[in-house]
Amino acid sequence: MNQNTEKNSSACSSGGCGEPPTRRSFLRTSAVAAGGLAAAMAALKPLMELESDDLPTVEKFLQKHYKEMDGDEMQSALARISNEVEKRFDQRPDIRDIKPMDGVEFVYALNLTRCIGCRKCVHACVAENNQSRSPEIQYIRVLEMPRGTTNIEKGNHHYDRPTVPSDDHFYMPVQCHQCASPPCVKVCPVEATWQEPDGITVIDYDWCIGCRYCEAACPYWARRFNFTKPKLPKKDLNPKMSYLSNRPRPKGVVEKCTFCLHLTREGKMPACLEVCPTGARKFGNVLDPNSEVSQILKNNRVFVLKEEVGTLPRFFYYFDERYPASDDAKADKSA
């Protein structure tokens, strides 16, 4: 009995230094210590699920920001990414760093009379851009809007009717608008996202720290975050990639629509436009006065979403008009 092991006046023990420990104080302190240690171990639990390719190589760790890389560094980065993709997907990708074209600024126009809400654009985008399938990331969100308003807060994101279109609604696809004054770029603490000269806002996936400030700043819910390691089946890989757009992303980075810059910077149409069955989507270079989008902006009554927040989007919506101004004999039809 007198071997009460907690009674040791010469060392700090439960109950505080200098005070003889009591049973209550011992139990309290050890409960706290046990709880703290257990919580610490539970927090470290993800280390159990660490895979070998989650840890960066030295080369990846020391890689510079995209804007600071010169040609050789980019080539070695692309080679590293090719090796990673080949190891993961058993396919050698065709990955390049495609620079913007001169004298080009992209603009997207969308005809809301023609959109039927079929969501083919959503899934063509998913097939083109190597996004995670489980959980599924979709860059484009089609909103089912009640007639009479263009307030996107009233849109239904999760409509699932037997057939579309519904007579009481119209459909408004929303994706990254590549705003001319992008709030997402302003809030990024590490400058992992920026706007390129052709108007596309891009992300350097190797520089993004995953804080999601950009996701919070975007008024159009355009950005998506990889909460888990993206699961992409090998057969669904699109091997034609570019560094800034559709290469497979790691866990913990933000991604979004890039206007398919691996296609559009080579003159092709983005995947969402190609698949639209009603031809509601229009894309082109707004600096070219003969392009479709220039004609639309000149002749149709276009509007943008959330104009009051001042993001200056590059995505313009319009409705078909019965007697559009373009048919007016006095209208300016010159190129």
Binding site: A42, P146, R147
Partner: protein, 241 residues
């Protein structure tokens, strides 16, 4: 425990010699190991996405335009329209078709074939003021009634353009009227939408038409009728615009 005054001088035993402290340390580390190695079981199950077949997202045009003049295989031989119609005395204003019965004409108020097809030469199309066009010029036939849309199509505001947006790098392919619209049934049919965003983790939610807001099992949030996911409880005067 009573505070006995520590008068009885015990020899100074160091912590390492006390078995109870060893036992406690073991318990601590056992607890830590339990939390580290055992599955926590609180992960949210991620449902697999509904599969979308590649033909749902096929970008090629809906219809292949007919050749000019259109040809068909009849009894093993390739025939144009006039190969039969030069000798058939078909009633041009008849709507009672014996051949071509698979064509269902649903094109607005048009109920006669001769509105678009030339009654004398079936290899040509004809307008109501007797101008003829070949099948390659079929878009101009559409413009006789659909003028504003035709002007918009010429500018690219209506319709679909595939290929390249940059003329310097490749050809752009503007689809003609009949590559999207079946001329006998031009209105697009309603189709089933592809799956939406898989972001609802709380089980089966109310989306679309069917409503039952009193039932927790079907609507765990008990969303009120005027929320943004359900709108068919709007009073009648609101839903008609």
């Amino acid at each position: 425990m009573s505070q006995k005054e520590p008068a009885a001088k015990k020899p100074n035993t160091s912590s390492l010699d006390r078995p109870a402290l060893w036992g406690l340390t073991l318990i601590f580390f056992a607890l830590a190991a339990i939390f580290f190695f055992l599955p926590t079981g609180n992960s949210i199950p991620i449902p697999d996405p509904a599969s979308v077949s590649p033909k749902d997202i096929d970008p090629s045009p809906r219809f292949t335009p007919l050749s000019d003049p259109p040809k068909a295989m009849v009894n093993g031989f390739e025939r144009t329209c006039m190969d039969c119609h030069v000798s058939i005395d078909s009633q041009p204003h008849s709507t009672d078709l014996h051949q071509h019965a698979n064509i269902e004409l649903q094109h607005g108020i048009n109920t006669r074939c001769v509105t678009c097809h030339d009654s004398k030469n079936r290899n040509l199309l004809a307008t109501l003021d007797n101008k003829t066009f070949t099948y390659a010029q079929s878009s101009q036939l559409c413009s006789q009634c659909h003028g504003p849309v035709y002007r918009q199509w010429e500018r690219g505001i209506h319709g679909k353009t595939l290929g390249y947006w940059d003329a310097k790098l490749g050809k752009s392919e503007k689809l003609t009227c009949t590559q999207c619209h079946d001329p006998h049934h031009p209105r697009f049919d309603a189709i089933k939408p592809l799956p939406g965003p898989n972001t609802l983790r709380m089980g089966d939610q109310e989306t679309g038409d069917s409503q039952d807001h009193g039932d927790h099992k079907r609507n765990p949030l008990l969303l009120p009728p005027h929320s943004k996911t359900t709108d068919s409880h709007l009073p009648a005067h609101e839903s008609k615009h």
